[in-house]
Amino acid sequence: MLMKTIQQHDLTHLVIRFFCITGLGFGAVCLLLFTLHLSPITIAKSMGSGALSNWIRISHMLSIWTPLLLCSSGLLFTFRAGLWNIGIEGQMIIGAICTTAVLRLPQAENSHALFPALAMAAGLCGGGIWGMCAGILKNRGGVNEIFGGLGLNFVAQGIILWLIFGPWKRAGIASMSGTNLLPHALWLTSPAGWRVAPVALVLSCLAFLLTALLLGNTRFGLRLTAVGKNSKASRLFGIKPELIGLTAMMLGGGLAGLAGGLQVTGVYHRLIPAISSGYGYLGLLIVMLAGYRAAAIPCIALFFACLAAGSIQLPIMLQIDSSLSGVIQGACVLSALLVHGFQTKRRNT
């Protein structure tokens, strides 16, 4: 009985919070648009139709949702262990590089079935190792994971630029448009009229479910929570916080690397300098908005993907800069922090 009332109370609490956050976030953005003499309704309609009006657009939106879901799942591990994995962008880039490296092997074209799977695995490992680098810097060197991660992001960016303009450049011209297209046989196939590879969708959903399961129902998940909440106390229970943190970084990096690999094989079919498209950073915002819990992540990622996909239309249809989607996303996260702050303040007084 008591349990039930607590749950009901929690639910109303969540609903109130949801309406406060959306009201505050959207209200602020609408106010901004009104002062610029723009109509929020026209913009919302244009963004909605840009993301959802037909199956091609929906599937394009889902192709953004896929990496966002993967990155957010990976970040759940690191946040649970109390780590800020800002290096996620670099992990995505390195994953994409490793995948491309495997697919560029001369043997790749002849044994089609094996190599795409191998390439995905390479992306997973590459991202995982890059994540571990930041973890090792933290454990061994005492370098805060935020700054180690940032440094590694810049390094990854340097490597991808060097590859695209150096060893992997297109015959004759090297440009920001990336490497040569991969042979058609190595692409992740998608049915006619689809912009997203079903394999990528299935993989990211599986990764998310596995993450939720691992975090919620296993001893490992419990250990992560213990380290994140109080690493000193967890040591008393025989847990090694360094090792757990390193594993979390590896898992988070691996999922980001897989996302990078899927961008190569499923979306761009080549390596481009902006292969990560900022989806790693967007993942950080998604997990923050979801309150660092798994449950709300697919929906929030879907909302963010709709914004990102819908905003592509804005410059063409309404001559509005596409960065409006980022403004909405940022406003939502900030208002979530604000609402959460007020709620804790009220509870304490």
């Binding site: 610029l36 800020w84 800002i86 810097l137 060197g141 005492g142 370098v143 805060n144 935020i146 700054f147 180690g148 940032l150 440094g151 810049f154 390094v155 960016q157 340097g158 630029l161 060097w162 303009f165 150096g166 090297a174 920001m176 300098p273 950073y281 950080l284 915002l285 923050m288 509005i320 800069d321 960065s323 409006l324 989607s325 980022g326 403004v327 996303q329 940022g330 406003a331 996260v333 900030l334 922090l337 604000l338 959460h340 702050g341 007020f342 804790t344 303040k345």
Partner: protein, 318 residues
């Protein structure tokens, strides 16, 4: 050779000026015990407001003022949610980084790639004619002179004034300050805002002097992260942080030089290279600090610093 060295040194002094403002602004903030992670976005947003205001008024000085106010506003949002509502300062700062960045691109897009006013070099009469030193130090725009002046000023303020002592003690032990009758939250808010104003000036220094103009990309993307790293690895000491900023400026100038020497290597590499190089130079310094007993590391040990005790923690006053 003498001429080229002084020209290069002058270039370093000029390109480092905005970074000096940003990094010292963050030093001031963090010394008071607050992490303002929003630097990268705040610099861009204030670069935009600075440029647009200067263009509208036809003069650069209102632009600098607008940029300082923008940086201060961002800092107020951070201290409102971070200090007064007790949310994670890192989380708020990170969200602000992206909100500010996209807000800058969104609001600034009508002004993209349009001509606007910019700050020109004002040689100081007699001093600029001095051999060697003259062109390095005394042939710059006002904002560069201001960056020279800011370094000793901030150092003096922090370590030789009563207000500076209060600033440092709030960062180290807010409870103790509260007991002594100093309100820690209010003090932290004030210094976060002041630091924010300096960060805003850094933005205007880009869009009105060092990389004049507004566009997407503006050219100062990523600098905020470097400034944040400089503060941490510079041991929260204004002089060391400033030294780090000049080293980064040197790396950037070296990138331009090497680009001419090695035309085969794509120029994008040289534009990105200073960022990882800087971070890893700082990491190496940081790592070698742990081995203070080894004589070879004694010089590096001199550079070590410890973070303010209460950095990033919210003080709960009754």
């Amino acid at each position: 050779m003498d001429v080229s060295v002084s020209v290069l040194a002058a270039g370093v002094a000029a390109t480092s000026a905005p970074l000096i403002f940003a990094a010292l602004g963050e030093t001031l903030t963090e010394k008071a015990g607050v992490i303002n992670l929003s630097l990268d976005g705040a610099i861009l947003l204030s670069a935009m407001t600075g440029f647009v205001t200067a263009k509208a008024t036809g003069s650069v000085w209102p632009g600098f003022a607008a940029a300082a106010v923008t940086g201060m506003t961002v800092a107020f949002v951070l201290s409102g949610i971070g200090i007064w509502l007790g949310q994670s300062q890192v989380a708020v700062g990170f969200a602000l980084t992206f909100l500010c960045r996209d807000l800058a691109y969104f609001l600034g897009s009508p002004y993209s790639r349009t001509p606007g006013p910019q700050l020109l070099a004002v040689p100081i009469p007699v001093l600029a004619d001095l051999p060697f030193i003259g062109p390095i130090l005394f042939n710059h725009s006002q904002i560069v002179y201001a960056s020279f002046a800011l370094i000793p000023l901030l150092w003096y303020f922090m370590f030789n004034s009563r207000q500076g002592l209060i600033l440092r003690s709030v960062g180290e032990n807010p409870e103790g300050c509260w007991a002594r009758g100093i309100p820690p939250k209010r003090t932290q808010t004030i210094y976060t805002a002041l630091g924010g104003a300096l960060i805003g000036l850094a933005g205007a220094a880009y869009s009105l002097a060092v990389k004049p103009g507004w566009g997407r990309p503006q050219g100062c993307e990523g600098i905020g992260w470097i400034a944040l790293a400089l503060v941490i690895f510079g041991g929260w000491h204004p002089l060391r942080v400033a030294l780090g900023a000049y080293i980064f400026g040197m790396l950037q100038i070296a990138g331009i030089l090497f680009q001419e020497i090695f035309p085969a290597i794509p120029s994008q590499i040289f534009q990105v290279a200073p960022f990882p190089l800087m971070i890893f130079a700082l990491v190496i310094i940081h790592l070698s600090r742990n081995k203070k007993d080894t004589t070879g590391f004694r010089i590096i040990a001199l550079l070590s610093g410890t973070p303010p005790m209460a950095l990033g923690k919210t003080h709960e006053q009754e």
